[in-house]
Subunit: 374 residues, 2 copies
């Protein structure tokens, strides 16, 4: 039986498509793999670039396929008619598609007689297992991220404290300025960071709040930086939390616990371990020390996100290390990012990126973890 | 009858979802609009931020919806079960979804009895018509882009010519360096540019080739810059072509024709005009002057892309101004970007962003068009 898979998307927005083709394009295009043979169908605008840059076996011109279809009597051949012609020619009747395949195209393919089999995520399970080249690419993005973090934390360290707020060179020191410091440093090394989190005060209690305004002294500041390399397309994801001034005792305890949470993960992570067991162990450690997770005064507080996620061509990819059972495998790269968030103390999160090895795990990030800045 | 629409996506990747909710999130979430009432169903991680930042009528907690579903006997409530509960409660039986709605979710919703109606693109036709605030947002991104272009072209102007190549301060002047100049300038004003095209020589004959290596003297260099504002989320898209040194006569003629192509568009563009007529008029002008479009020596040459596209929350959005019939309306913002590409001369493209007004069109971009740099 002829085996076929089909992805129709823009590879800039679809990591599976980029993974399969290594062709980066802003607009949707058609990729199909028939009995292992990789085929692209490209617009006139992209056909030559696809031939030069993609790693596939065959690049077809969409307009030529359309012309052929017209010869065979199709009045207005679109994507479905062009695919129909190709599939008939190559004996394809059943097509595997990803869960995010567009329903409009799915309906039209089914209407002309194809059976669509929706393959469960991860669509390419092999994408979870990083090759040595992929690990090196991630490591390189991590290095760039650590350089950026160093300069950003250096700026915070230089601040003075006036009336409980941070000031630098007679101006308030803001989340926006630290974010720009990080982004410019990263862009200088061809990495692209967006929505970088520089959040202090109670802003940091919302783990996805990117932070704004003047930073506070004596409160933790969460810096969560997750750029992608414009060269390799691989992400890094590192978080550090710092305090300029004097942290409260509660914050010091939270920081110690989050560090211990990371250590629990580093000890447990290895092939065959269930990510959920790791996540539960950290949650229990926090609870045991009296740091509870749940809704308090109408807001989620404590440790209410996952412990980690796969990292690669996407910032969040399989596997997850969190509340859902998932067995880890050697070669996976995952983040380890426990956190604790309380409205009366602020947010603490520390995040490293680790490679699951045959016998345990190795941290790819090495940036120092120091709460209190001199 | 109860009217409902449903989008399940990450708003960072789905402009319709951002348009409807004004909530920016990196991970997929559920948006439904029932009889005009906008509802979000958010994870614990995002629920508070969604309440603070989104412009919707109701923000539900996914985990609370799950708990309710469990009470009603659903063993493992997922997105479909949670939606089923909500839809039953509010009398929804038919749901309108966009064409890019994920097939996996579509199949499961149909399996529990919902009729899905796939609404044709543009999903929100009103998104094509820009409000005054949206036009101002685009104009602001355009200003930033023009500032960046000014500094980048300034750098090219300063270059010296050695053996037909551009050099600056004893180093070869590369596409990469000019791209970085553009990106850093834009990042300084909170705009994000990716894949910016700085392509010279025959590289520029492939309109999507971003360009690499040392730039050539006497050949056109295409600079196509299309950043998004990280504040407003609106794009600009401007292209200029310059030559350092002496352009060939063919290049000078191509430049003049492309300028004339733009003028044809500026004269024709107004409400009620078919974009295809504009595109055809430009193509015919080029043909008439002996500049043919089509495959030559195995490569597409001439003017083989569209004249323009809508611009807003996406870099390419409706309407198109190209080979397909599409009637233009007042309030639309479209690019006007004819080009000519020949392997023996290089590529020329000039692109402005125009607003269709009640009586004609107004160019929002004003950057000078000068081929030869002093």
């Amino acid at each position: 039986m002829t085996e076929a898979i089909l992805i129709c998307a823009a590879s800039e927005q679809d990591a599976n498509l980029y993974y399969a083709t290594r062709f980066w394009a802003p607009d949707p295009f058609v990729f199909t793999q028939i009995n292992g043979r990789k085929i692209l169908i490209m617009s006139d605008l992209e056909v030559d670039r696809a031939k030069a840059e993609s790693r596939v076996d065959e690049v077809l011109s969409f307009s030529r396929c359309q012309a052929e279809a017209k010869k065979k009597g199709v009045a207005q051949p679109g994507t479905v008619e062009v695919l129909d012609l190709l599939f008939k020619e190559r004996g394809v009747k059943t097509v595997q598609v990803p869960g995010n395949f567009p329903v409009s195209l799915a309906d039209r393919l089914r209407a002309v007689g194809y059976e669509l089999v929706i393959r469960k995520d991860p669509f390419f399970p092999e994408r979870m297992i990083k090759s040595p080249e992929e690990v090196e690419a991630i490591r390189e993005t991590i290095h760039r991220t650590e350089e950026a973090l160093k300069s950003a934390i250096g700026v915070i360290a230089q601040a003075e404290i006036r009336d409980g707020e941070l000031w630098l060179r007679s101006k308030p020191l803001t989340s926006e300025l630290i974010r720009k410091t990080l982004h410019l440093s990263l862009m200088g090394s061809d990495c692209l960071a967006k929505e970088t989190i520089v959040a202090g005060g109670t802003q940091a209690c919302d783990p996805h709040c990117i932070g704004k305004g003047t930073l506070k002294a004596n409160w933790p500041i969460v810096l969560d930086v997750f750029p992608v390399s414009m060269k390799s397309r691989y992400f890094a994801d590192i978080t550090r939390t710092v305090v300029k001034g004097k942290p409260s005792d509660k914050v010091k305890t939270m920081y110690r616990l989050v560090r211990e949470g990371q250590e629990i993960a580093f000890k447990m992570l290895k092939p065959g371990v269930d990510g959920r067991a790791v996540h539960t162990a950290i949650l229990q450690h926090f609870e045991k020390e009296g740091f509870r997770t749940g809704e308090m005064n109408g807001r989620m507080q404590g440790f209410f996100h996952g412990t980690g996620h796969g990292l690669g061509l996407e910032i969040h990819e399989a596997p997850r290390v969190g509340g859902v059972s998932e067995i880890l495998q050697a070669g996976q790269v995952v983040t380890v990012e426990p956190g604790l968030y309380y409205l009366d103390a602020g947010g603490i999160r520390i995040e490293d990126d680790v490679l699951i090895t045959k016998t345990g795990c190795e941290s790819l990030s090495t940036f120092p973890k120091i709460l209190e800045l001199e």
